[in-house]
């Protein structure tokens, strides 16, 4: 079993819809939770970052972490065609292993105009 599980999609929604992307994980030591966005033929770029449990909002994006369920989510409101990309969840733990991030396999998202 992988430490981080993510549905690969693809997920296709119409422009303006609310998008929900999710990941589950098995390592209870994870404390830092991130979402990266990766456009085709580009490297991943950090989109959202959350420490421990709770919600974080940044414009149209909201990240949620539920450590009791080992479940994290990214919500995109008023989705735009420019949001079409692969979204990777990522996690890291404290201590020396904090210097390594474990990535999910990514969810391909397509926003239809």
């Amino acid at each position: 079993q992988k430490e981080v599980e993510q549905d690969p999609g693809p997920l296709s929604v119409p422009e303006g819809a609310i998008v929900s992307l999710n990941c589950t994980y098995s390592n209870s030591a994870f404390q830092y939770f991130m979402w990266y966005r990766q456009y085709s033929r580009k490297g991943p770029e950090l989109l959202m970052y959350t420490y421990s449990s709770g919600n974080k909002e940044d414009g149209r994006f909201t990240a949620q972490v539920d450590k009791s369920s080992k479940y994290i989510s990214l919500f995109i409101r008023d989705s735009q065609p420019s949001d079409s990309a692969t979204y990777l969840c990522a996690m890291s733990s404290l201590g020396s292993s904090a210097s390594k991030i474990i990535f999910g396999s990514g969810t391909r998202l397509s926003i239809r105009p």
């Binding site: 830092y32 033929r41 490297g43 970052y49 210097s99 390594k100 396999s105 990514g106």
Partner: protein, 115 residues
């Protein structure tokens, strides 16, 4: 500020040939990472450097892969000899501090095709 720069962007080689990838991290980022990304998968760590020192190379296939980071700045990843299964995107990333707190900045990657 320039981001993480990688070259070449694309490389096609025949199996059993050597290949090298180069990475220039963001200025001031002491931590450098090489990741491997297969199609439809997330990046997987190959090696992590703190300045010149490789502090985590447990996932690097040392029989054919090698890496160096001279003077704690630029880094080179080498494969010799390349195998068909090495076809993937090789990503370099750098970080200002513990990535759990700072995240990574990735380069655009080198897409390797071994034929």
């Amino acid at each position: 500020e320039a981001g993480v720069v990688q070259s070449p962007r694309y490389k096609i080689i025949e199996k059993k040939q050597p290949v090298a990838f180069w990475c220039n991290p963001i200025s001031g980022h002491n931590t450098l990472y090489w990741y491997l990304q297969n199609l439809g998968q997330g990046p997987e760590l190959l090696i992590r450097y703190e300045n010149e020192e490789a502090v985590d190379d447990s996932q690097l296939p040392k029989d054919r892969f090698s890496a160096e980071r001279l003077k704690g700045v630029d880094s080179t990843l080498k494969i010799q000899p390349a195998e068909l299964g090495d076809s993937a995107v090789y990503l370099c990333a750098s970080s200002l501090g513990p990535p759990g707190e700072y995240g990574y900045t990735f380069g655009s990657g080198t897409r390797l095709t071994v034929v």
